[in-house]
């Protein structure tokens, strides 16, 4: 049972660390910090799900979710960062550029 308690403590620890991510996600300051915070939360969710599985003694069930999560978390962050790449600005007033960056590339 001691191990389970440890896992429980680890879960709370992860949740605490998430709170830090959440602080960045909510407070910023720059728009990308929000993405960063969300990414941090997302990447911590994966082990937390596994640990919840441990707590329920059913790791095999929750591992599927964690796996899906690990892959899908990526999409949200990617979409958000693509937004900033395409809109090319951190603030509302920055208008999207119509000209591609010709010089960029290998």
């Amino acid at each position: 049972m001691f191990t389970e308690t440890l896992f429980n403590a680890a879960a709370i620890c992860i949740a605490m660390a998430m709170a830090a991510g959440l602080y960045r996600a909510v407070r910023g300051p720059s728009s990308l910090d929000h993405i960063l915070g969300v990414n941090a939360i997302g990447s911590k969710t994966t082990p937390l799900l596994v640990i919840i599985g441990v707590m329920y003694q059913r790791v095999d069930m929750l591992v599927d979710i964690a796996l899906a999560y690990a892959m899908l978390n990526f999409i949200a962050v990617l979409a958000a960062s693509r937004y900033f790449q395409k809109r090319r600005g951190l603030h509302e007033d920055s208008t999207p550029s119509q000209t591609p960056d010709k010089g960029y590339g290998p």
């Binding site: 001691f2 440890l6 680890a10 992860i14 660390a17 991510g21 941090a40 596994v50 690990a70 090319r88």
Partner: protein, 113 residues
């Protein structure tokens, strides 16, 4: 068996330390790019620790085919996180660079606090 439990405890503790370190980094680092380190690097290593602890736990509690499959899946998770996490970090950092966010230096800070 107790040896495995000790390993689990150590790995969990290490994971928690890395996690909290990463959290501290996210909270305390001065600018976006530096925070990115905390968020990505430490998280990844913490994740590896925690997942290893889980693998050990599963293998010790369910030393059968099911347990093996489950631990393989957990390893798969780790592999995927190793692929996606850097890519995501890259995407964010790239967006920041293209969006014109200047990296933090001491001079910058003095110019615009």
């Amino acid at each position: 068996m107790i040896i495995f439990d000790i390993f689990i405890a150590l790995l969990l503790a290490a994971g928690c330390v890395f996690l909290l370190g990463g959290a501290l980094g996210i909270l305390r680092m001065p600018d976006f790019y530096t925070r990115l380190h905390g968020a990505s690097l430490l998280d990844t290593i913490a994740l590896v620790c925690l997942l290893s602890a889980s693998i050990l736990y599963v293998l010790t509690r369910h030393p059968d085919v099911n347990g093996l499959i489950t631990s393989l899946k957990i390893i798969l998770i780790a592999v995927f996180v190793f692929i996606t996490s850097p890519t995501a970090t890259h995407a964010i950092a790239d967006a920041g660079r293209r969006a014109g966010l200047k990296p933090w230096t001491r001079q910058n800070e003095e110019e615009s606090p």
